[in-house]
Symmetry: C2
Subunit: 340 residues, 2 copies
């Protein structure tokens, strides 16, 4: 039922129903100031004519695009992919479109993505900045565009953010390994998320201290490349470390792969626990104990915060910390383990 050229507009519906464009607009938005029958008639005709609202025109006039942007590192990281999927669902449920912008963890690219979000006039941005003091973030702040930090916390409490309880997650991970007999533990991270990494280690450390693990048996490292990682793991292995806590599942898998590829068989001597519980969302065949951090809730909360900020820009910044829990998949305790 589309017109020969171009799409059906309010103008066409107005002509067809004998009212003005404005009345049609109000009818289709179910506003007041319109009689029940006229409203229904207009809506019926609109449907018959196959009308779809032109959000571009609507946006220009109303100043709202009903679109948000998500700026993250890369969709090739399953963590972000899952988050993206969940956010997309919630966004669409609320009538928002989602624009995906990947920084590839490059600050320069990240700036371009913020500029893209700005020029596309999105109503708000969800961002996992790729570095601690990202210039993209400064740009975002000075632009006045509402944004919420996703899975990121920056000291200072000046921004809205949603994170999981990193400390608690680290504590649970540590205690779990200890409960399964490990007495020599290490945490490894090679993803530079300063705050989360430190908090997770603090919790991890506390669990060790609570179990009276000697300080010398609690290790932490942030190696920067594959070579350093292998070196570090070899060193820990020599020191008798058996319990390994990885910053996240993806990194855990990555280092297991490295160990396996190195051909030394070291992977058999380490029990590994990860973080994020990606296996709760994707059915991959490498099980791993992990910390479930409610990504679904994180997604919904983030959009909720963003909408609040869009609606009320002067609100005080809000930091939401979601509780975590442990999911055991029996990788906390390899057969060789010294203690029951």
């Amino acid at each position: 039922m589309a017109k020969e050229k171009g799409r059906v507009t309010l103008h066409d519906i107005a002509a067809a129903t004998g009212v003005t464009v404005n009345t049609v607009s109000r009818a289709l938005k179910n506003k007041e100031d319109i009689s029940r029958e006229t409203c229904e008639r207009i809506q019926r005709v609109a449907r018959e004519m196959g009308y779809v609202r032109n959000y571009i025109a609507s946006s220009l006039r109303s100043g709202r695009t009903k679109t948000i942007a998500m700026i993250s590192g890369s969709m090739m990281n399953p963590y972000y992919a899952i988050l993206c999927d969940l956010i997309q669902r919630e966004a669409v449920r609320l009538g928002y479109g989602l624009m995906i912008l990947c920084s590839q963890d490059d600050p320069e690219t990240e700036i371009k993505m913020v500029e893209m979000a700005l020029s596309r006039q999105v109503d708000g941005v969800l961002i996992t900045p790729c570095s601690f003091e990202s210039p993209a973030l400064s740009l975002l702040r000075s632009s006045g565009l509402p944004f919420v930090l996703l899975s990121r916390y920056l000291e200072g409490d000046t921004d809205d953010c949603v994170i999981c309880d990193d400390w608690q997650g680290g504590y649970l991970a540590g205690r779990h390994l200890i409960d399964h007999g490990h007495r020599n533990l290490a945490m490894i991270s090679f993803h530079h998320v300063v705050y989360s990494s430190r908090k997770r280690f603090e919790g991890f450390q506390q669990a060790c201290l609570d179990a009276e693990i000697p300080t010398g048996n609690i290790h932490y490292a942030e190696p920067e490349n594959e070579q350093q990682i292998l070196l570090q793991l070899n060193q820990w292995h020599a020191q008798g470390v058996t319990g390994l806590f990885s910053f996240c599942d993806v990194e855990a898998w990555s280092l297991i792969t490295m160990l396996e590829n190195s051909g030394q068989g070291l992977e058999k001597d380490f029990s590994v626990i990860g973080f994020d519980n990606i296996l709760g969302y994707i059915n991959f065949p490498k099980p791993i104990c992990s910390i479930e951090c409610q990504l679904q809730k994180e997604a919904c909360t983030a959009i909720d915060l963003l909408r609040n900020r869009i609606h009320e820009p002067s609100l005080p910044p809000q930091q939401v910390i979601l509780p975590v829990s442990l999911v055991c998949r029996d990788t906390c305790c390899k057969t060789h383990s010294s203690v029951p």
Copy 2:
């Protein structure tokens, strides 16, 4: 340098430089009909004032949003996540924004996503329809919005599409298993991509026939749920099948997980080869032989076709088939295998 309220517009720049809005527009777009010095001056002032183009206004006037949509099943499937990432990169490189719309493999939702793409006035759509005769596709076709099928081919050659050489992939997979001693082979698929699945099996079958594998030793199944899958695998196991070709890596991992969880140890008796070579993009620790299908090229080609169609809607439909290759990761040949 932003104005007190709202953003800098062409109007502000015009006022600041003493020319008209139109001249500013042309200057910023590097059009002709403008002197070199004026152009540079305007661009300089625009930069100083922190101008960012309002794509909404631009879109409304020009009829082009410089935004494309990708409609696929879910970002939780790494295959789509990888594709999405690659497409996003290429899109941004060409100045396009990317809107992500996930159908969750539900036809109803898919229709809503097409409607969203339409109302958001995107310039074009990349879609992996969730079913063979998707109503969303019909809607898309009748809307006149340019679109390209991604990783999907529909008989009839009426749409643009980019796919990999499914037949060749199946052939390579089959021959690889045969070369490694397997004489009793099966292909399994539980993802209802009719065309690809059948083509891959045809190639697979031909490889078997070329190697003079008896027809009775060539199997194919499309089980519909986990129970059926396990039943099928058990049956094949009893029939002496050792070489397993999975429709894609994700499904391969999924069925390996099922086998492992079933506790019968069957996974040790099957050699598995997958498709898509996801490990070429994500570093996951479950290696698997696979067919590399050049997702990067697929992404770029898809956008290229889409841009051609946007620019020249009357072009004859184009089907691009990308060559594939085999990546061996030693999962083609388990230790137990009967033949050298």
